[in-house]
């Protein structure tokens, strides 16, 4: 097969070929590795790939797992999901070199199905960001942009770029405010944020515990369905994982969508570009052609979502990131000259040396180890939880969150899925928003409510700009109704010959 041909296939295509013996898993991995070798230096989707170790891993997996749903399939893993013995740094200096001594539950499940795991997909540091520009190790480039000067989205930018450029067959990412869906839209692939509690968080380095979910990034709905089936399900090690059975998502895919109703909400229009608006209208027409009905739904509190999110999420994040202090693992600032507060004319600290040496270690480790966005969020989160402000900010934010959830409950009782854009704009250029954090935050406006409400959401390509940059649409459903989302996505793909379009979008060869 010509080089890159195998790497461009989907899980379901490869499974057929592998089972039939037409293709060998070694050739598949070699093909993927060759593309990584050629394209990763410019795309920077991965933070360090070790081909020899990956080949060893493949051999071990082939020997250990005679039959598995993902046997021999290379899957890329975001740098915030723990793999036993593999560096997991969350693209941060403060965790550089950290190797967890355990596998995340989703990793265990992938391994059990024979997958070959390619760590570490680049990301925004600790998942704080919407462009992967906050990585401490350099940004990832969007493979769809000819000049490679466009962001892949974030925070799972590395995962999305890898899948889009065929540097992996599929990927796992994490989504707290849109971090799977937005990069999926920006890179022209499918991304799913499952219902909160659908997939175990055990082994996902926490950002915001009540919002985080791990989910698949894939080349089409069928692949997303396969991956979701493998990773979903109750985990006794995660007290927030739901004891709800997992449907056979792949089987549900082919169910017709005729008669399903698509909800259309009134959205805050700020910042929404014309091409995004047109792409969504076009997508709606496709669904109508497929026999779907439409319904107007109201999400009256959606304009409060950003504020509520950035209070609740940063509060939880500030707490989750307290453990990065140099004491036990990760990076620790080397022993300094000692007492803090030693500015000119300042008296030495009255505390005994040992106490201030400890504080010095904490301060310097965290000052030097965290990037600017991480510090910004820790400060914000600490502030909203502090004495005197808890009721006004965090508690109020949680109450607004309840209202948003109720909005979605009501809206989703009147339709099967809500349709909206993933992002108000097409993919933006590197450096365009990074110096204006608030602008960056506002670009999450359509994705964060799904996290606040805990509902599942799927993002996929539904158009492109004149430059050929992908535009994504988002479908949201009621809790645990991922099957509906996948069905709609699959039907859309079949109807629009999406795969042909996807391959045509592929650049960088």
């Amino acid at each position: 097969m010509p080089s890159g041909e195998l790497a461009s296939k989907t899980i379901h295509e490869l499974r057929a070929l592998l089972t039939a013996g037409a293709v060998s898993p070694r050739d598949l991995l070699d093909d993927v590795l060759a593309r990584i070798d050629r394209l990763n230096p410019s795309l920077h989707a991965y933070l360090g790939v070790e081909p020899q170790r990956l080949r060893q891993q493949l051999e071990a997996q082939l020997a250990a797992i005679p039959a598995g749903r993902l046997r021999g399939i290379p899957i890329t893993i975001k740098d915030n999901i723990c793999i036993d013995g593999e560096e997991t740094s969350c693209a941060s200096r403060i965790l550089a070199g950290f190797r967890p001594p355990y596998d995340a539950t989703v990793i265990e499940r992938l391994k059990q199905e024979g997958a070959v795991l390619i760590p570490r997909a680049n990301m925004d540091e600790f998942a704080f960001g919407s462009s992967t520009e906050n990585s401490a190790f350099g940004p990832t480039k969007n493979p769809r942009a000819a000049r490679l000067d466009v962001v892949p989205g974030g925070s799972s930018g590395g995962s999305a770029a890898a899948v889009a450029a065929d540097l992996a067959i599929a990927a796992l990412g994490s989504d707290t405010g849109g971090s799977i869906r937005q990069p999926a839209a920006f890179c022209g692939i499918v991304g799913v944020k499952p219902t909160y509690g659908r997939v175990s968080r055990y082994g996902l380095v926490a950002f915001a515990s009540s919002l985080d979910q791990i989910g698949p990034l894939a080349k089409d709905a069928q692949d997303a369905a396969i991956l979701l089936s493998v990773i979903a399900g109750h985990d006794p090690r995660d007290s927030t994982s739901a004891p709800v059975g997992v449907p056979d998502y792949a089987r549900e895919l082919a169910q017709p969508v005729r008669g399903l109703s698509i909800g259309l909400p009134e959205l805050p229009a700020e910042g929404q570009t014309d091409d995004v608006r047109r792409a969504i209208e076009e997508a709606l027409r496709v669904f109508q052609q497929l026999g779907c009905r439409t319904a107007r739904v109201a999400l009256p509190h959606i304009d409060k979502a950003i504020a509520a999110y950035y209070i609740v999420a940063t509060a939880e994040a500030s707490s989750n990131l307290a453990r990065y202090d140099g004491v036990q693992y990760g990076w620790r600032a080397p022993r300094g000259s000692g007492l803090r507060g030693q500015g000119s004319g300042q008296p030495p600290s009255p505390e005994p040396p040992a106490q201030s040496e400890l504080i010095d270690m904490y301060l310097r480790t965290r000052t030097e180890g965290f990037g600017a966005e991480s510090k910004r969020r820790i400060l914000l989160g600490t502030y909203v939880l502090s004495q005197g402000y808890y009721e006004a900010y965090y508690l109020k934010g949680m109450k607004v969150r309840t209202l948003i959830k109720q909005d979605f409950d009501r809206a989703l009782s009147r339709c099967d899925a809500i349709l909206m854009p993933t992002s108000p704009t097409p993919p933006f250029r590197l450096g365009e928003k990074i110096h204006d954090p608030l602008q960056m935050y506002l670009s999450d406006i359509y994705t964060i409510s799904a996290n606040l409400a805990g509902v599942p959401a799927l993002s996929m390509c539904c158009g492109a700009t004149a430059d050929g940059l992908p535009i994504g649409m988002q479908l949201l459903a009621a809790p645990f109704q991922e099957a509906v989302l996948l069905r709609l996505a699959h039907a859309y793909e079949q109807h629009t010959q999406w795969q042909t379009r996807r391959r045509a979008l592929r650049r960088g060869d």
């Binding site: 915030n80 999901i81 723990c82 997991t88 969350c90 965790l95 950290f98 967890p100 001594p101 355990y102 995340a104 968080r201 055990y202 082994g203 996902l204 380095v205 926490a206 915001a208 515990s209 009540s210 006794p236 090690r237 995660d238 007290s239 927030t240 509060a315 939880e316 707490s319 307290a322 453990r323 202090d325 004491v327 036990q328 693992y329 040992a354 400890l358 904490y362 600490t382 939880l385 502090s386 004495q387 808890y390 965090y394």
Partner: protein
């Protein structure tokens, strides 16, 4: 002076569950450092807590024993501060929806019973241990203790003296011991106590609260409170204000010193623990646990008084430690009469324990902790001892010796008696022989007796007991010697 002392106690009880509060690591005391840890209790990136059901059940058990109202819905919260013995730099604790509230403990001070309110009881995870010895430049942290379940028991400020506070602590420990949920040991750290104390003129509003920490023994609690009472009274006498602060007790200097002022108190930024969902406590579970409660000290005290005609004081001493109560009731069950058993326990046994600086808990069949040999005392042994005396096999004096042997050699007194052939000699023939031999060997005493010196008999008794190795029945021997001496006198 004329101040009223207002004291509240905050007790932390380590639950001796098999595994930790949020993970499956063992909780055994004294293991090699960092040998009982896992990613969860180490707070590694990506881990999540899962509540130990047994710890919850035991928490309910304790709360019921203190007559608390059990929460219908309880949740956990994060208490946030930075310290190297706290891996996540937050402790999972409970803030506004704790396990239980509004209980009480009735304590007996002198001959008064006083009800001390319990504000709340909640679950939380323990931190690790910092070690500062062994290096001039570094400290070390052992995470074995991280995540061990703690029950925090907070009293209302109902205590009015250091003596009451001491009694409260003793009674709390006694009650908890009946529940088998903790080793309740202040030296090992499974029972910890902080106290709050303030002084006020009678009728005035509460004075500023001073918190006192670093109390590592029952004695320290009392001494620290006594010291604080004097210190605060002196300040108030001089017209000074007592600042609200936290002070540390120094057992060596027997003084408290400032640890941190109110302004320096940490803002813990409590918020609900998002990794744990709220828990709905099933009333059926609570009912089941309530049914499984053992007879608690207050009830037992009353029953022993009624059933065995014990005095209130005796009943209190016997129930103060579960081990003593078990000993008492076990001996009764083995057939012994209550009064002699009570006397042995309250007399010789208590004296023995005091002399050896042992605790009644050391009387259990298995050794407590490392290096402890344990002192076995089975209830039936006590019963047998009492029986041997009642049968006349052992004299009262002999029995005291056998009692000590029983404790030191850990043997049934019956076996000891048989092995050493300690059976009291009551055979008239044998006694006669001994008496004759003694009289023959001590002509001076015989002569002295004849002349009217009655004390000579005491000497002869001593000789007779010596000759018989203490086994001669003293009453019989005394009668025999008297009889013979009288007979000789008339010769």
């Amino acid at each position: 002076m004329g101040y009223e002392t207002v004291i509240g106690l905050e007790v932390h009880l380590q639950l001796s569950t098999t595994t930790k509060l949020f993970c499956g690591c063992p909780t055994t005391f004294g293991a090699a450092p960092n040998s009982q840890t896992c990613p969860v209790c180490l707070g590694l990136p990506g881990v999540l807590p899962v509540l130990n059901a047994r710890a919850l059940e035991w928490g309910i058990r304790v709360a019921l024993a203190f007559d608390c109202q059990i929460a219908r819905v309880m949740k956990f919260d994060r208490k946030q501060y930075f310290y190297p013995d706290l891996p996540k730099n937050y402790q999972i604790s409970q803030y506004d929806q704790p396990l239980a509230q509004h209980g009480h403990l009735d304590i007996v001070v002198g001959d008064q019973t006083k009800r001390i309110g319990l504000t709340r009881i909640h679950l939380e995870e323990d931190a690790g241990k910092l070690l500062h010895e062994g290096s001039p430049t570094d400290s070390f942290v052992d995470f074995n203790r991280t995540g061990v379940p703690l029950l925090e028991i907070v009293s209302e400020p109902d205590l009015r003296s250091p003596e009451e506070a001491s009694q409260y602590l003793l009674d709390l420990k006694a009650l908890v011991q009946y529940l088998d949920v903790s080793t309740c040991n202040m030296e090992e750290g499974s029972l910890r106590c902080d106290t709050n104390i303030s002084l006020r003129r009678p009728g005035a509003s509460l004075g500023a609260k001073v918190e006192v920490k670093n109390l590592n023994s029952f004695k320290a609690v009392r001494l620290a409170l006594e010291h604080e009472t004097r210190r605060q009274a002196a300040l108030l006498d001089q017209g000074e204000r007592i600042p609200q602060e936290t002070r540390l007790w120094d057992a060596k200097t027997q003084k408290t010193s400032l640890m941190r002022s109110k302004e320096e108190a940490a803002d813990y930024r409590y918020f609900p623990e998002p990794d744990l969902v709220p828990f709905i406590i099933d009333p059926a579970l609570v009912a089941r646990i309530r049914e499984g409660l053992p007879e608690l000290p207050a009830r037992k005290r009353q029953r022993l008084q009624e059933a065995y005609q014990l005095s209130a004081y005796d009943a209190k001493v016997l129930t103060q430690h579960r081990a003593l109560a078990q000993l008492f009731e076990g001996a009764i069950q083995a057939g012994a009469p209550p009064k002699p058993v009570a006397n042995w326990i309250m007399g010789d046994l208590s004296a023995y324990l005091n002399a050896k600086e042992l605790d009644p808990d050391d009387l259990s069949a298995s050794p407590r902790g490392e290096g402890q040999a344990g002192v076995k005392l089975r209830p039936e042994w006590l019963a047998h001892l009492v029986e041997l005396i009642a049968q006349g096999t052992l004299s009262g004096k002999m029995a005291k010796t056998v009692f000590l042997q029983m404790l030191e050699q850990q043997q049934d007194p019956r076996a000891l008696v048989e092995r050493q052939q300690l059976t009291q000699i009551a055979d008239p023939g044998v006694l006669e022989q001994i008496a004759d031999a003694v009289l023959q060997a001590n002509p001076q005493s015989v002569e002295a007796y004849r002349k009217g010196k009655v004390t000579a008999l005491t000497h002869l008794m001593g000789e007779a007991m010596k000759q018989s190795k203490g086994k001669a029945n003293p009453q019989q021997m005394h009668a025999l010697l008297t009889q013979k001496l009288e007979a000789l006198k008339s010769v």
